[in-house]
C-alpha cells in the first residue's frame, strides 16, 4: 500500500515544473458525461430496466389478449411508448435533482465551474432522450406489429402516418422537458417526482372534472390546460388554433416555470 502510494504521488506531481495549460472542456464532452450520469446510478439502471420490462410485458399482452382487429401499429407503439412517457421524465428529473439531493453537484460544479453549461447539457440530453426514445418505441412497435400479426395470421396494419411521427416526437420531447423543468424548479428528488405525479395525473383529472361542471372552464381549458392541449399531438393534424392553444398553455405551464427554475438553479448553493 505504501509503495503504491509513494510512486503514485511522485508521478502525480512530477511534471509540475513543465506544465502546459490544459485545453478547455468541450461542450460535447459535457453532453456525453451527463448522458452517462443518467444511466450509471442505481436509480438510472432500474428505471431503464423497468422501461424495458414493462415494454416487453405490454407487447406480449397486446399479442396475447388483444383481438385480431386491435393488432395494429398504433397499439404496439403505445404499448412501448406509454411506459417510456411515464418513466423517462423521472430520469430527466433525477439528472438535475441528484446534484442537490445526492450533493454530487459539489464535485460536478467544481469540475465545471460554469453551472449554465452543465444545466444546458442536461437539458439537451433530456430532449435528445425524448426524441430518441420515441424513435426506439416506434421501431420496436413495428417489430411487434410484424411478429404479432404474423403469429395471429393477419395482415399488419400500419396506422401511424409518417406525418404523425413528428408530432409524437414533439410530444415526447415536451414530456421530458416537463420533467426537467420540475427538476430545476424543485431541486429535490422526492419533491420533484411527487410534483410530476401531481402535474401529469392529478391536475389534468381535476381540470377535466371542473370542465364537466363549469362552463367557463370548459371554454378556457384548451388555452390554460397544457395537458389537454398536448392531447392534440397524439391525435395529429393540428390546426393553427391548436398550435396557438399549445403555445399559450405551454408558456404558462412550461416556459415560465422553466425560466424561474433556471434562474434559481444558477443561484442556489450546493451545500
Amino acid at each position: 500500500m505504501t509503495t503504491a502510494t509513494t510512486t503514485g504521488i511522485e508521478r502525480t506531481a512530477a511534471h509540475a515544473a513543465a506544465r502546459t495549460a490544459p485545453a478547455p472542456i468541450p461542450f460535447t464532452r459535457l453532453l456525453r458525461v451527463e448522458l452517462i450520469k443518467m444511466f450509471n446510478t442505481r436509480a438510472g439502471f432500474w428505471l431503464m430496466a423497468s422501461i424495458a420490462a414493462s415494454a416487453l410485458i405490454a407487447t406480449v399482452c397486446v399479442i396475447a389478449f388483444a383481438p385480431d382487429s386491435a393488432l395494429n401499429y398504433d397499439n404496439f407503439g403505445a404499448a412501448i411508448g406509454i411506459p417510456m412517457t411515464l418513466l423517462l421524465p423521472v430520469m430527466a428529473i433525477l439528472s438535475v435533482t441528484s446534484e442537490w439531493s445526492q450533493r454530487s453537484g459539489l464535485t460536478t460544479f467544481t469540475l465545471v465551474p460554469h453551472r449554465g453549461r452543465v444545466i444546458w447539457a442536461k437539458m439537451l440530453v433530456s430532449m435528445a432522450l425524448g426524441a430518441v426514445s420515441i424513435a426506439v418505441a416506434l421501431a420496436i412497435g413495428a417489430l411487434g406489429n410484424l411478429v404479432g400479426t404474423a403469429i395471429a395470421g393477419v395482415d399488419p396494419v400500419w396506422d401511424i402516418p409518417a406525418s404523425q411521427m413528428g408530432y409524437l416526437v414533439l410530444a415526447n420531447v415536451l414530456n421530458l422537458l416537463i420533467g426537467f423543468m420540475l427538476g430545476v424548479l424543485i431541486r429535490n428528488s422526492p419533491g420533484a417526482i411527487v410534483g410530476f405525479v401531481v402535474y401529469g395525473f392529478v391536475l389534468p383529472t381535476l381540470s377535466m372534472l371542473l370542465a364537466n361542471f363549469q362552463h367557463w372552464w370548459e371554454r378556457a381549458q384548451p388555452w390554460l390546460d397544457f395537458n389537454y392541449a398536448q392531447g392534440q399531438l397524439y391525435d395529429g393534424g393540428l390546426t393553427g388554433n391548436d398550435w396557438a392553444q399549445l403555445g399559450v398553455s405551454g408558456l404558462i405551464w412550461l416556459v415560465i416555470p422553466l425560466t424561474v427554475g433556471l434562474a434559481m438553479v444558477m443561484r442556489s448553493e450546493v451545500k
Binding site: G8, I9, L30, S104, G105, V270
Partner: protein, 299 residues
C-alpha cells in the same frame, strides 16, 4: 499557489468570512485551522467558485477558479467526502470525474490503487462506503487530474490512524514535488504534524498566520505545579506576568531560570518546567474554540 485577498462573505447579517487575506505557497503544506463554524469551509467554497464572494478575491494559480479552462487538471478539490452520489459505484464516480477532465480510463484503475481501494470495493455503491472509504474516493477524484494545487476540507475525518498516516505522507510527497496544498482542520495537533504554514481563523477572521516554526516559538516558560495558586501569586509578586495553560499549568513571560528561582524562593514544588513551545498557539486555539464549542466551560 492560492491567494485570498480581503475576502468577505456575508449571509444576511452574519459575516461568515470577514476580510480574510492569506496565501498558500507552492512546495508547502498550508494548514487552515479553526473551530467548527469559523469560516474555513465557506472560504474554501468561495475559492472554488461554489459560493460567490460578497467582496474581495480568491485566485488559484493566478486566475479566478472559474477562469481555469479545465479546473480538475490544475486544482484537486475535496470539500465534503459525503457529497457523492450514493447510487453510483466508486469506480463509476471516479470515471465520471475522469471523463469530465478528458482523461484516459486507465487513470481510474491507477488512482484506485493509489488510494488503496480494492477492485472489489470499487464495484460497490458509495452508499455502502464508510466515511474513510469516501475520503479515499474523494482524494482519488482530487488527484486524478494530476493537479498542481490541492484544496482539501477536513480530509482526515473518518480515516483510521493508518489512513491518517497515509494521508500525511501523501500530502507531504505532493508538496515536496512542488505542489501547493491547502488543508483545513479543526484539530490543532492533526495540522501541527503536517503543515509548514498555518492560517488560524476564528469567527470568520484570521487570528494568526505564519510558518509553523514562527507560531510555535512563543516566548515564555511553561510551568506546572500541584500548588499552582501559590505559584501564580509568587510570580505576580515578582512582577512576572503569567496566564493559565492546561491543568495545573501556567505560561509565564520569563525564562525558565527566572521562574525556577521564584518557585524555589516561594517553596512551591514543580512538576514541570520548560520553554513554552507551541503553548501560546494552543491557548489561542482553545480560547477560540471555547467561544463556539459546547464544552466552552471546560476550556
Amino acid at each position: 499557489m492560492i491567494e485570498v485577498t480581503a475576502l468577505t462573505r456575508t449571509y444576511g447579517g452574519l459575516r461568515a468570512v470577514d476580510d480574510v487575506t492569506f496565501a498558500a505557497q507552492p512546495g508547502r503544506v498550508t494548514g487552515f485551522l479553526g473551530p467548527n463554524g469559523a469560516g474555513k469551509s465557506t472560504t474554501m467554497r468561495v475559492m472554488v467558485g461554489l459560493t460567490p464572494a460578497t467582496s474581495g478575491t480568491a485566485t488559484v494559480l493566478g486566475r479566478k477558479y472559474a477562469d481555469l479552462p479545465n479546473p480538475g487538471r490544475e486544482v484537486g478539490v475535496l470539500l465534503d467526502a459525503s457529497a457523492q452520489h450514493a447510487g453510483r459505484t466508486g469506480r463509476e464516480t471516479l470515471k465520471v470525474a475522469a471523463r469530465t477532465m478528458g482523461l484516459s480510463m486507465a487513470k481510474v484503475d491507477q488512482m484506485l490503487e493509489t488510494v488503496s481501494l480494492t477492485p472489489k470495493e470499487a464495484e460497490r455503491r458509495v452508499k455502502n462506503y464508510s466515511l474513510g472509504m469516501r475520503q479515499r474516493l474523494g482524494i482519488a477524484t482530487a488527484l486524478i487530474g494530476d493537479p498542481e494545487v490541492l484544496i482539501l476540507d477536513e480530509p482526515a475525518n473518518g480515516l483510521d490512524p493508518a489512513g491518517i498516516r497515509w494521508m500525511r505522507d501523501l500530502l507531504r510527497g505532493f508538496a515536496n514535488q512542488g505542489g501547493t496544498v491547502l488543508l483545513s482542520s479543526h484539530l490543532l495537533h492533526e495540522i501541527e504534524v503536517i503543515a509548514d504554514d498555518l492560517v488560524v481563523i476564528g469567527n470568520g477572521k484570521i487570528v494568526a498566520q505564519g510558518t509553523k516554526a514562527e507560531l510555535l516559538a512563543t516566548a515564555g516558560t511553561l510551568v506546572r505545579s500541584s500548588a499552582i495558586g501559590e505559584l501564580a501569586r509568587a510570580l505576580a509578586e515578582n512582577g512576572i506576568h503569567a496566564v493559565a495553560s492546561g491543568p495545573h499549568g501556567l505560561r509565564a513571560e520569563a525564562d525558565a531560570d527566572q521562574v525556577g528561582k521564584v518557585a524555589l524562593a516561594a517553596g512551591v514544588p514543580l512538576t514541570e518546567l520548560r520553554a513554552a513551545d507551541g503553548a501560546g498557539l494552543e491557548e489561542m486555539f482553545l480560547e477560540l474554540t471555547a467561544e463556539t464549542s459546547r464544552e466552552g466551560a471546560a476550556a
